[in-house]
């Protein structure tokens, strides 16, 4: 299952809720988009939470959103960068998709 989160982890508990579900999974994928991309920041509270979750969940970040926000040089290791074409592929490859609004 593909999970999409678009909220900053510093403003909303959406990422936490999503991970509560996604980490129970078998090979779930998390894609961070829009303000959700701030979660991949190295050495941040959210980054540490994400690092822990990465044992269970494959984490991807929408690169155009990360670049737009100037965090491209501070991305946690192991996070996969995707562009919009990669976003489309992730949706197509997953059995189902949930946008955590």
């Amino acid at each position: 299952m593909l999970h999409i989160v678009n909220k900053s982890p510093f403003e909303s508990t959406t990422l936490e809720s999503c991970l509560r579900i996604a980490t129970n999974g078998q090979g779930d994928v998390l894609l961070l988009i829009e303000d959700g991309v701030y979660a991949v920041t190295k050495n941040s509270v959210a980054g540490n939470m994400l690092h822990e979750a990465m044992k269970d969940v494959k984490v991807c970040v929408l690169w155009p959103d990360a670049e737009a926000r100037g965090i491209q040089d501070r991305v946690l290791e192991g996070v996969k960068m995707v562009d919009y074409a990669g976003f489309v592929d992730l949706v197509a490859e997953s059995d189902n998709v949930q946008s955590w609004l």
């Binding site: 299952m1 129970n24 609004l101």
Partner: protein, 133 residues
């Protein structure tokens, strides 16, 4: 065929998908819960396999004792009790969301099934269409 369903013929047999509507927002402060409920009611006309999930602040949609007169908005909480009449009977709440808010099933307007996060994950994974409101 009517205006509400957008002229779509609901009678297409064979295609039954699992629809899950995930309610994660409180009522009144924003319109998502109310308009989300409208989607759920319409989906009933299409004979799909519909489930509703309430987690995070979405559980507040179901609490008893909502009185909206003084805020000048319609109290739509009775609609949740009418869902059964639309054959929408699969209502789930996430245990962690309830506990975090000091709520128990006795605080809710309708009978629900309480699920652990792991069971909720399994249920979500089995769906075809998941829409969050």
């Amino acid at each position: 065929m009517n205006e509400t369903t957008g002229g779509v013929d609901e009678g297409d047999p064979g295609l039954v998908k699992k629809f899950m509507f995930v309610n994660r927002k409180a009522p009144y402060g924003t319109i998502y819960a109310l308009e989300g409920l409208e989607v759920v009611l319409i989906s009933a006309a299409f004979d799909q396999d519909v489930s509703m999930v309430f987690m995070d602040d979405g559980v507040y949609q179901l609490v008893k004792g909502q009185h909206t007169k003084a805020i000048g908005m319609k109290n739509f909480s009775p609609t949740y009790r009418a869902l059964e009449g639309y054959d929408i009977e699969k209502l789930y709440v996430e245990q962690k969301s309830m506990e975090a808010r000091g709520l128990t099933e006795a605080d809710l307007l309708v009978p629900v099934e309480t699920l652990s996060s792991a069971d909720m994950a399994g249920l979500m994974r089995s769906q075809d269409v998941v829409i969050d409101f």
